[in-house]
Symmetry: none
Subunit: 131 residues, 4 copies
């Protein structure tokens, strides 16, 4: 994935957030979990900065959306304590894997600052553009 792609994802996510009337942080990481691009919208809670990054990181490291990771990395899940590895991961939604046309993982987007439902909707708006 190149920076131009990451920037278009940021733009799409920000548009969705504005449409929903919420203020979020948005992080894009590559397939090895290294940061590519990031923005914090005006008024976004400061705590959401790191969360947006950890959501994207979680999605890449385990090749699944953070909402799915949450079902296993939880006291009631099959792999409780997994959320405490790799510097701390995120067991709720808002981190979404980016897949290429050929099914390879390109990276991930992480969104934080709104409700989890809205965070997920914003991430998906970026990763699943209207056809």
């Amino acid at each position: 994935m190149q920076l131009s792609h990451a920037m278009s994802l940021l733009d799409a996510a920000r548009s969705k957030a504005e449409h929903l009337g919420v203020r979020v942080s948005i992080s894009i990481v590559d397939a090895a979990a290294w940061p590519m691009a990031f923005i914090r919208m005006d008024g976004c809670p400061l705590g959401a900065i790191e969360v947006s990054h950890k959501k994207a990181r979680t999605a890449v490291l385990f090749q699944m959306d953070s909402a799915d990771f949450a079902t296993i990395a939880h006291p009631d899940g099959a792999a409780y304590s997994l959320e405490n590895t790799n510097g701390g991961l995120t067991s709720f939604g808002g981190g979404v894997v980016l897949m290429g046309p050929d099914g390879t993982m390109l990276g991930a987007i992480g969104v934080s600052g709104a409700s989890t439902e809205d965070d997920i909707a914003i991430a998906r708006a970026a990763t699943r553009p209207a056809g």
Copy 2:
């Protein structure tokens, strides 16, 4: 335990993983929890690297398989919060203690990247060679 022994454990674990058609990270640590050998199979999720090490570390530090550790180091267990000591430990299966012929602990193997069931089977394939 010597490196040659650790390498043979890695080979046995990798063979089992290939037989199961899964891609895992495999860590061998000595009886003092220091890393001896490690491999990450092609295609293994990146998050599994650290997890394989923590599983082996957990097994050595408490002299029990991580699946047994999970029953006590859990919000519902007798020693909740134990999993948050020693830099973070692993409360699910895939870390297996290596015992010598005389019953002394030689170290441990940790496997991560597949289902917990498969991770355990891979670790046991290495530690309990066919007779």
Copy 3:
């Protein structure tokens, strides 16, 4: 400082980097040292990601460019070990303070990935737009 301002600084810095033919990471932080926006240009060394952030953070935390911070936070400077505070700071150039028209500090920009000379030139191209 608002996100729109931070994005224009990113654009100006990226243009300068492209003009110089170098590939850098660029971080913008606000006056409280919290990240506002970030990009990593294609081909930038991965180690520069964190460095760009630490340069911007250093500039804000001590209200001076990181090149000036370097003269005091150094084994030969007046405040050796200062560079080891606040999670680790940066004792070389590329972090530049952003000042408002009224002389208040708005935040900082950090650039890393090229030579220190180029990193500084890129940061200044963003903070001192042609009149």
Copy 4:
């Protein structure tokens, strides 16, 4: 780079170490600095385990051998404090970049446990096989 390649590098490095009569730790990381394979030779000092990893990581993150990194990331160098970024890097030799036939960086090898001179010789024996 695939695991089979990393394993052949480990073997070549170990052979060189045995030839020199020294005991080292050897780490291979991919182009994004994620661990691929690791061994600790019998008798290697325990402190060398992490050092071998940090040498390889340093080489990848700044796309240069750690011996070259040392000339800039040093109190007398152009970028003092750079060695304290990215979780701590290594300002002496023994981390060597692995380049592919087409000039792209494949990853790096890090060797620690002997003299720096020997560590470098071992890393180079792996990365520059006899023709």
